[in-house]
């Protein structure tokens, strides 16, 4: 029997199906939309098969071309990657279900191809164990994202897509330069191998390649001065794409930074410096979100803020901080994806993205509004929802050492949470308690668009009331990450 617990399948299967869409499109115009669902369904199976392996061994490694890791590209899934792969695959699966009804505009089959590639690229970026391969995956992700952002082909989409493309390309080039610099320095591209070999370099020598890679990934990861494309691109994309972009793509890029910073560079001198990025991102994102009238733009800015939050938690550098960061990543992915999906449904019915036009939705689209509320609560960190536990952990981790700086950090984080709560509550007030100006026929979104959101909300609720396994898992993931040796030794010495 073939062992399907192989992380490469996570990439190969959807790619195969993506090509299949292109083949079948001329004959099965209507039918191809089911292909991504099948692909990600299979992927989900693979991930479930992977879970016990990873839990037992801590890491699962797969090689390509039958050659040992430092020489051929390898794929490694450790606890942290599994964490994100699970979310990415789940979101891919659910959102592709959502797409069944949501995508009506032509060329639908092309949309499905790009969508499949986008999610595949994200998964790829997370599981790969090779730096150049990460760049390629990064490109797969961003090029499909460029195409999807421009999918509507209207004014906003074109502008947002172009800006995103230019910035993304610069980012990719910077990333590539950084990778190449590392290659020049070490003569290898495998992450574990680089990590081994780079230890002999001084702090100064490591800084420049790190800066390039950091900047390159930071552009996709929406860190503060580099994230200007995000608030344009996320709203311009179709809502299902926005939910993937916001939910997991930025997270995947941040994952890349985490990998590079901790596993490869082991860069604790810089890591504290990164707090600044986290906090600035948080502040700018949340404040800008507060002023938005367009709901999707608001959510996009909120994504920036959330990214800042978990990046900040990561850059605390302690196991507890990283644990908080992972929990918050998960919370943000699930909640923000839900929000975009629900909002997509609402926009689908109302026909407007302006928050003021959502008045009275709470009565006409009860389920949607309810799902929105739960997801928003979790995002804000209201107890007893999952976001509360993650925020709790982040604050606890910050205040492990009490001094003026940590107090100031906490004040900023909490103040921004407050702003976040303020604008989400404002939206909810409009939705639930404001009377609609004119009576419009507004119907509940179609069932297939609701099911993914419902599933996500159920997951959030389960995690809310039974968070312990995830919390423990995140703790182990953080410990593995900080320990480094698990990853490096198993990649280099394993098999």
């Amino acid at each position: 029997m073939v062992n399907i617990a192989n992380p490469i399948l996570l990439i190969a299967i959807p790619l195969l199906f993506a090509f299949l869409i292109a083949v079948l499109a001329p004959w099965l115009k209507k039918g191809v939309k089911y292909i991504p669902v099948i692909a990600f369904g299979l992927n989900l199976l693979v991930v479930f098969e992977l879970i016990p392996d990873v839990l037992d061994n801590g890491i699962v490694i797969a090689t390509t071309a039958g050659i040992k890791p430092p020489f051929a590209i390898n794929v490694a899934v450790d606890r942290l990657s599994l964490f994100l792969v699970l979310i990415a695959t789940l979101l891919g699966f659910l959102v592709s279900i959502y797409n069944l009804v949501y995508i009506k505009e032509e060329p639908a089959e092309k949309f499905h191809i790009l969508f499949t590639l986008l999610v595949t690229g994200i998964t790829w970026m997370i599981v790969t164990g090779d730096l150049f391969n990460m760049f390629v995956a990064f490109e797969v992700t961003s090029i499909s994202a460029f195409g999807l952002v421009g999918f509507h082909r209207d004014k906003d989409a074109a502008e947002a897509g172009f800006k995103y493309l230019v910035m993304g390309s610069i980012g990719a080039s910077l990333l590539l330069i950084g990778v190449v610099m590392l290659y020049a320095a070490t003569g290898t591209l495998n992450m574990a191998d680089i990590a081994e070999k780079i230890m002999r370099f001084t702090f100064k020598q490591k800084l420049l390649p790190y800066a390039f890679i950091f900047t390159g990934l930071g552009i996709e990861g929406a860190l503060f001065p580099l994230n200007a494309w995000l608030p344009d691109a996320h709203p311009a994309a179709p809502s299902s794409v926005s939910s993937i972009l916001s939910g997991i793509m930025t997270t995947a890029a941040i994952y890349g930074i985490i990998r590079v910073t901790v596993t490869i560079f082991n860069y604790y001198q810089v890591i504290l410096f990164l707090i600044l990025f986290g906090l600035l991102t948080l502040m700018f994102g949340e404040t800008a979100a507060f002023f938005q009238k367009d709901i999707k733009r608001m959510l996009a800015y909120s994504t920036i803020g959330q990214t800042g939050l978990f990046f900040y938690a990561f850059s605390l550098g302690s196991i507890n901080g990283m644990q908080g960061a992972f929990l918050q990543m998960m919370n943000h992915s699930l909640a923000k994806a839900t929000l975009f999906l629900v909002v997509g449904g609402i926009i689908f019915s109302v026909g407007s993205r302006n928050i003021d036009d959502f008045a009275g939705i709470g009565r006409k689209m009860k389920l949607s509004a309810f799902l929105f509320a739960i997801a928003a609560f979790s995002l804000m960190g209201l107890p007893p929802f999952f976001g509360f536990w993650s925020k709790l952990k982040i604050i606890f981790a910050t205040l492990e050492r009490v001094n003026v700086y940590t107090i100031a950090f906490v004040v900023i984080v909490l103040f921004m949470s407050l702003i976040e709560a303020a604008y989400f509550f404002r939206v909810m007030q409009v939705m639930f308690f404001k009377e609609a100006k004119e009576e419009k026929e507004v119907r509940e979104a179609p069932a297939w668009m609701l099911i993914p959101a419902i599933t996500l909300v159920v997951i959030i609720l389960v995690l809310s009331f039974y968070p312990t396994p995830v919390i423990n898992f995140a703790h182990k993931a953080a410990a593995d990450l900080v320990g480094r040796s698990v990853y490096i030794n198993s990649v280099l010495g394993g098999l």
Partner: protein
């Protein structure tokens, strides 16, 4: 002006720091680590005379799969951006007539271009060349045809079928290797053959041929989309 100077200085600083960084790894010095391994083991492991091809398709074949995917995504993206509904297309049709020499000349040259391109990607594992290069050359042949006959169009959906099948071949070969043979993706399961022969290096030539078709059809598709944008919809809005 101040902006220009400022950014000039900024970029100067960046360049300076890059130079300083690379001063530690000077030009021409042998920096190989994995490269040595490839050069040493290439013949046993892959049987491809061209080590670059071996690296591209075997050791780092996974990259190439990504590369193909990127191209595929870009082609799809361009198709999305230039997508026009069929009925709109017809309305905007506009005929341009290039001169006679171009039309006849391109008709004569086109088969040779195809042949040349095919040669390059078929011999990718032996000579400097390969699927990308060959594919691009074939696509340039299509570009030539478009220059000569702006009114004519390639069957876009067939192109996409070709690219899909080529992609499936690549990924499918990889999966075949994974499932049946080496329990490793893109495992080179075919016999290695003799060095410098056309039937050598196992699956590499097959992949390169698939890539050749794929790249050719994708670039042709992009060209087609852009032609359509320029010719059929010319001056819209």
């Amino acid at each position: 002006m101040i902006r220009k100077i400022t950014y000039g200085i900024f970029l100067g600083i960046i360049v300076l720091s890059l130079i300083l960084f690379f001063a530690a790894f000077p030009f021409g010095k042998n920096k190989m680590a994995v490269g040595k391994y490839y050069l040493k083991n290439d013949i046993n492991q892959t049987g491809a005379a061209n080590v670059v091809t071996a690296v591209t398709l075997d050791y780092r074949g996974f990259d190439t799969l990504g590369e193909v995917t990127v191209l595929f995504a870009a082609a799809t993206g361009v198709a999305i951006l230039f997508y026009v509904l069929e009925e709109d297309k017809k309305k905007r049709e506009r005929q341009v007539y290039p001169n006679f020499v171009v039309r006849v000349g391109s008709r004569i040259i086109f088969p040779f271009i195809l042949l040349f391109g095919s040669y390059i990607f078929i011999h990718g594992h032996l000579t400097p060349g390969g699927g990308f290069q060959g594919g691009s050359i074939i696509a340039s042949g299509f570009l030539l045809l478009y220059l000569a006959y702006p009114g004519e169009r390639v069957n876009r959906s067939k192109l996409s079928v070709v690219e899909g099948i080529a992609g499936i071949t690549f990924a499918g070969l990889g999966l075949w290797g994974l499932f049946t043979q080496g329990n490793s993706f893109l495992f080179n399961f075919l016999p290695k053959g003799q060095l410098n022969m056309i039937f050598s290096a196992g699956i590499l030539p097959i992949i390169y041929i698939a890539i050749g078709f794929k790249v050719a059809s994708e670039f042709a598709g992009i060209v087609d989309d852009m032609m359509c944008e320029a010719v059929c919809s010319g001056g819209e809005k």
